[in-house]
Symmetry: C2
Subunit: 462 residues, 2 copies
């Protein structure tokens, strides 16, 4: 690819400003109050794909938020790359922990981002990383260097489980036909340690409701005599882990892939500094499943975490009440071979079975997805590896991520093609947290690396 | 007392309308947003005491909300009754469970209140029961039948632990000097089963905070590798009860008064129907400490209940986050001889000691109070018993209540006098809950019974 660095240099300000405009729209898919903003974001993506040189761009209706589809087919005999990304973002709460408003992007220099980073919800996950592909496309089309066919599928429901994407993919297999799927929605180890994500965890997300008495009760008159839904919920949740932090749901580990000594030794080579890790989080110690390292706990092992809990009086002051109901949102990260629907059912059966008399339980599955592993000997992985070597001057490290992109395994199943996860964010970019940000270095490095993937993938496919 | 029934009959509508006006003011002491309403309520109480015939009425400043004091001294040689009540109310949340707005009182007929009940926050606890004493006073003064001296002490911080009342009482011992204290802030067993509360539980109310990582984290990237404050909080709270629902805090039971077989047999005589109890609460079973009956569990045994819990994402939809912090409000009901400050310290020490590495704990004591027992052979109890016999035609049953009125033991300590708890509410009146109400029968029965207590107490004191 000729002149890519100079092209980026000349257009840097515009690339930043275009992303900043996109980040100003609060496309929170989890909260229906933002419906119009989510739809407005889809429109903006459509326009940006047209300007980037796509011949066809469509906003495709679904039962939820639409999928923005774009394509440029230059030669049916050349390979086709399908780019996936999402234009929706996580809710910004807790708002009071943001140093600047989540939808008023600002650029700040930080220790890990000396060249500056854009602070805004969605900066890294995934508007910033998705938009790298739009700008890479612009470069290739405007300089007549597009080496193959391209398709874009940018959805608006990733943060709420891509509920309608499965149907869209199933109904559009020809339209989405491709030779490799390219996604930037993961991270890399460090600015000078590029990595490619080769594994993702699956996910099962449920909401539970414990109901005791039919109304809130005075804790003096009834305390000790009736089941307190909050006390019961804490007991039930606590029982889901044993003293070694193994999950106690019967059958939960049955299909878990056990890695060999060799594979675990290979993983252990990834740079990791426990003191830095603890310091970065202000924790005095790590915590997790006995017998596994931190890197293993958050990548090759399944987990169960409460993501939210609420019940009773949570306002100012004191209220001596026994709540009628208590709630929790619970998610389980799954590893390859664990089927998320089986696990959801196992959780439901177990959770209902451990409820004491005096309360009734509701378990409402939210959404989920399968885990995924991509082989490093594939053409796609090789092309990505060469691209990073050109732009970073080093071979990227293959890395298992603890995160989940539920639709990746769906793509393989429905479209019969592998996904390459070229992530340019850092773990410290605080995605899903207050003060999410994305490094300018990372943003531009992505725009520079992506066209090289196109080049090498086309060459290796010959 | 002559003509009391006819007086009540003639003035019934006015008695109801005056109470309804008082209930319209949202005097929520726990929420500073209602500060002006709480103060406005104090003014209204002052006016009502003046109109009821008090010679002196003052609004006495404290470091919190004021105490309304009133008195009528007719003869220094006659006994003096001190009436205590409170004009503040509990927060009304959850608002969506109210069938009518909590501060727009309406009268509805129900199964347990065929003559109608007033629905509003504070209707029973304690505006309605406190106002019975004001109207009883009005009757006695306007018909020249007041048999002794009266003092009123109506506070505005009972629902938040009467933080400033102790100082007020200590600083005004002469002003508050009395022979017996009379309070209506408890309940009776049933419309046709009058009862007098002879025991109250103490209270220790604390708020706990568990802090893990310094920011909310992505549950995929960090799940399983760091302590999740919500998971940890549930484990810690769950561990506070053993499999028999005994509280596990070391030393918690050391000073608990163990009742004799005989005393427990006496208690067991109080009418109780388990099926009705379960049906009234829509629960399929009761729950509590092994080895004790329902009536014992909520009266003579101490308890530990979570009154509120919150942390992480509690909004619509799903957010895969590990929260930085999790919180709970926890209250312990105590029995006679358990010192609330000792218990608060025991809780704090224990809760901090069971925190795992990887989190930090804060325990913030909110407030508390001692338990109390009144002897049934006292003049005060005898006078109350005779009053109920006149108006209900039966001897009231002495009853231990599970509730707490922290200042009762303070009164005994500082003012050296016993408290008589003449409660006219029903357990089903939903105090502290949505749709709190107070029966018109109960309201008028209270106004009718109270003057007779004055009469008999004065006679028995000779």
């Amino acid at each position: 690819m000729n002149n890519i660095q100079s092209y980026i240099k000349e257009n840097k300000e515009r690339f930043l400003n275009e992303l900043i405009e996109l980040l100003k729209i609060p496309s929170i898919s989890a909260d229906s109050a933002y419906r119009n903003d989510v739809l407005k974001t889809a429109e903006a993506i459509k326009v940006s794909l047209e300007e980037a040189g796509c011949d066809i761009v469509e906003i495709c209706k679904t039962d939820g938020y639409p999928v923005v589809y774009g394509e440029k087919i230059i030669d049916k005999n050349l390979p086709t790359i399908l780019v996936y990304g999402h234009y929706d973002v996580q809710p910004p709460d807790p708002l009071d922990l943001w140093n600047s408003p989540p939808f008023e992007p600002i650029i700040k220099k930080t220790k890990s981002h000396p060249e500056g980073a854009i602070y805004a919800r969605g900066a890294c996950d995934d508007k910033g990383q998705m938009y790298m592909h739009v700008k890479a496309m612009e470069f290739m089309t405007s300089t007549n260097q597009l080496p193959c066919n391209v398709k874009f599928m940018i959805e608006g429901e990733e943060e709420v489980g891509s509920a309608n994407l499965a149907t869209f993919v199933k109904n559009n297999q020809d339209k989405l036909k491709n030779d490799v799927i390219l996604i930037s929605d993961t991270g890399m180890i460090a600015q000078d340690v590029p990595s490619i994500t080769t594994g993702l965890r699956g996910l099962s997300y449920v909401e539970v409701e414990v109901t005791g008495p039919n109304r809130d009760l005075h804790s003096g008159l009834y305390g000790g005599a009736v089941a307190n839904p909050i006390n019961v919920l804490t007991k039930m949740i606590a029982s889901l882990h044993d003293e070694n932090n193994h999950i106690t749901i019967p059958g939960f580990y049955d299909k878990v892939e056990e890695l060999s000594k060799e594979e675990r030794a290979e993983m252990a080579k990834a740079p990791f500094n426990l003191d830095h890790y603890k310091k970065a989080l202000d924790i005095n110690d790590i915590y997790g499943e006995t017998g596994y390292t931190t890197n293993e706990r958050n990548s090759i092992r399944p987990t169960l975490d409460v993501n939210g809990i609420w019940g009773g009086y949570t306002g100012e002051g004191a209220k001596t009440v026994i709540a009628s109901k208590a709630y929790a949102k619970i998610s389980m990260r799954l590893v390859p071979h664990q089927d998320w629907e089986d696990i959801t059912q196992l959780f439901k059966n177990h959770f209902e079975s451990i409820a004491p008399k005096g309360v009734t339980i509701k378990v409402k599955p939210h959404h989920g997805g399968q885990g995924y592993v991509t082989p490093i000997n594939s053409i796609g992985y090789q092309a990505a590896s060469k691209a990073y070597q050109d732009t970073f001057g080093k071979t990227p490290i293959p890395q298992r991520s603890g995160g989940s992109i539920p639709i990746v395994s769906l793509f393989e199943q429905e479209l019969k093609s592998k996904t390459i996860l070229m992530g340019f964010g850092l773990d410290s970019d605080a995605i899903h947290s207050p003060n999410e940000h994305f490094g300018i270095f990372n943003y531009l490095k992505g725009i520079e690396t992506i066209p090289l993937f196109y080049k090498y993938f086309t060459e290796l496919s010959k």
